[in-house]
Symmetry: none
Subunit: 400 residues, 2 copies
């Protein structure tokens, strides 16, 4: 749908849409002929909703494409991800609500451990605590590069973010993280002429940082990745007439939410907090993005039963959403993370969409194979929001 | 499919395609867990065809988008509707075969009743008869505006159309119809600078009309809506190599047919007339658009059983089509009109397509849920015509 046309059809109202994202929801059977994580999980509430809803599978980016977290979520927020490439640095900066400006370049920072010869021996510096990470970031505040402002901020554990601000910067710079131990960090190489200045800035930042961190073992080195500029993404208010809020625990998901103009509530620690926030903010917003991270985490761990358990936790949470009586509920994932693969994957993700006027199909169980027989078949992830707008009566008729 | 590529594949022949449109066909169950109108209807002939055909659902405009009548039909004629926006005024003018020219601006006219203070008390003038409407349109022929030709023509009952012809006109003008009683008609406001002249013309037209209609109670006022310019739409002959004809009762559907270069047979009053016309014109055309309006009308009335009855009437008509032995038959709707919603809706519409070489799926009943399990899943409405061309052997192989 052309955005200018969609915009003319927008008819904002008070009706409430809840998007419940079970991160990495899609999966695979642990043994050939077996069931997936979701099919294995006891999910009476999701099954009940599936029976009342329209079901299908969605592809966030495209056929065969494995989505990162940011593209997966952008799709669910209604943006074709390939039109809005978002680098990891920007996601990290947005996640901690750092106020990036146009022209800024952000990169993810890992504190790491190197040996005396400069070889990386731990890419996560023994997973130092967030408090230590914060003190190290303060320390790096002493870095001084002529003509460039440098901001270093903690994210979580060993992860931080650096933002460079100045004239002529660009994200055309390669990662310094070698993604392996026993080797030295890479030199920040420009990928085009536009990246030369930023690569020089990054190199100087690393040089001064190593001096400052010399005696801070295990955090005596840094690795940079995901150099990224702020993309221009029209807000969900502008594009869909929605007033959205993110109820997410993890910074990165608040980050991608803020990128599309969502408010993001800070300080939420678990599903109970999220349920409480849903109640508290119910009258202030009309779109609620509720995010549960750990299905993905356990999938990445390769822990099939633990992923099943996380899905069951979300299932038990569903009645708390339904008690608010949302006009539209979508339940889905941002990508698949099959435990047997220990990584994100390209598999389409099951979804259900429920509303007053949904036309039920024959699906009575929320799972990959049942949803594959749902009425929507496989659709682009970014289309879900249009369906939600329709079912919430937020779109008028097109044409005479 | 890019049109320039499709055009190179066109291979016109004598084979006959029939597109049977049951207006507003798609529906919803009247009670949760129940059947839709189509699923409720006894449709032995459509079920028989569904068993022999390929089935699926189509979306005329896009996900979540509720199609108006014109876009819904444009999609079925093979045009992505968002590429060809058609205003209500143009649909009305085409419907009565008024020969619009490039640059003309048309608007729908409702004769209405106002009280002494000028407030609208009946937006349809007591639903005056078409004959009276015709005499009133003749009366308005006396309107004289310097530099602009004005044509006023009756459509049906209290509905008419006005066409303004002159230099520098545009459809950037808002409706004067307040869509409510107890208030005065709006002043015709321009929506951009381009609309200023036309708004002035419309204002003068209304002023003179009110004088002429002063003693014509209940038709002593007029309301204008859907100001529209003629869009350029390539004909179905040009685009698909077809020689098409419309067998429709209602003017609006003849209108949208003429817009794509179809001949439209006048004077048809019901399905019997349409069957007769099918026989009469069988050798003169290769594409027959047969339209039945009343499933939509009863859906808009919220009358579930009456909509069911209309669908059953069409079912009984199907053998008359099949007795002509069409090479390809498509049966579908232009949009959904669930009786429970009393309006057009965004739900995908079931279709069946039958031909010599269709590959039957397992669908044996023509309905929303059975078709959702059909082999095509959900496809864009504008693709149906390509399938029809293929099944009628009107497309050659692409590439070596």
């Amino acid at each position: 749908m052309r955005q200018d046309i969609l915009k003319e059809l927008l008819h904002p109202n008070e009706k409430k849409i809840v998007l419940l994202v079970i991160d990495g929801l899609g999966g695979l059977p642990a043994v050939k002929g077996g069931k997936t994580e979701l099919e294995t999980a006891r999910t009476p509430n999701l099954d009940f909703m599936a029976a009342a809803a329209e079901c299908g599978l969605h592809l966030p980016v495209g056929f065969g494409i494995t989505p990162g977290s940011a593209p997966g979520h952008l799709a669910l927020f209604g943006y074709q991800p390939t039109e809005y490439p978002v680098g990891r640095g920007v996601v990290a900066a947005m996640g901690i609500a750092f106020p990036m400006r146009a022209g800024d370049v952000a990169a993810r920072v890992n504190f790491a451990t190197c040996d005396e010869s400069g070889r990386i021996i731990d890419r996560r510096a023994g997973r130092i605590a967030t408090e230590i990470c914060g003190r190290l970031c303060d320390l790096l505040g002493a870095v001084s590069i002529p003509g460039v402002e440098v901001f270093v901020r903690p994210v979580r554990d060993y992860r931080a973010v650096v933002v460079f601000r100045g004239e002529g910067l660009s994200d055309h710079v390669e990662d310094t993280d070698p993604q392996a131990v026993g080797v030295e960090a890479y030199d920040p190489k420009p990928t085009s002429e536009k990246g030369i200045k930023t690569a020089d800035v990054a190199r100087e930042f690393v040089r001064q940082s190593l001096v400052l961190l010399k005696d801070r073992h295990p955090a005596n080195a840094i690795l940079l990745r995901g150099f990224a500029e702020l993309p221009h993404v029209p807000s969900m208010a502008e594009r869909f007439g929605l007033h959205p809020v993110a109820l997410a625990v993890y910074p990165d998901y608040k980050g991608v939410s803020r990128l599309v103009g969502m408010d993001a509530i800070d300080g939420l620690k678990d599903l109970n907090d999220q349920a409480e926030a849903l109640k508290q903010y119910w009258n202030q917003y009309d779109f609620f993005f509720v995010h549960h991270k750990y299905a993905d985490s356990r999938g990445e761990d390769g822990d099939f039963p633990a992923k099943v358990a996380e899905i069951e936790k979300v299932d038990a949470f569903v009645p708390q959403i339904m008690s608010r009586q949302p006009d539209v509920l979508i339940v889905t994932g941002d990508h698949s993370t099959p435990a047997v693969m220990k990584s994100h994957s390209y598999h389409p993700i099951p979804f259900l969409i429920y509303g007053q006027n949904t036309r039920p199909d024959d699906v009575t169980e929320f799972g990959e194979r049942p949803c594959a027989k749902g009425m929507w078949g496989i659709i682009p992830g970014a289309m879900l929001i249009q369906l939600a707008l329709a079912y919430a009566d937020k779109l008028i008729k097109y044409g005479a």
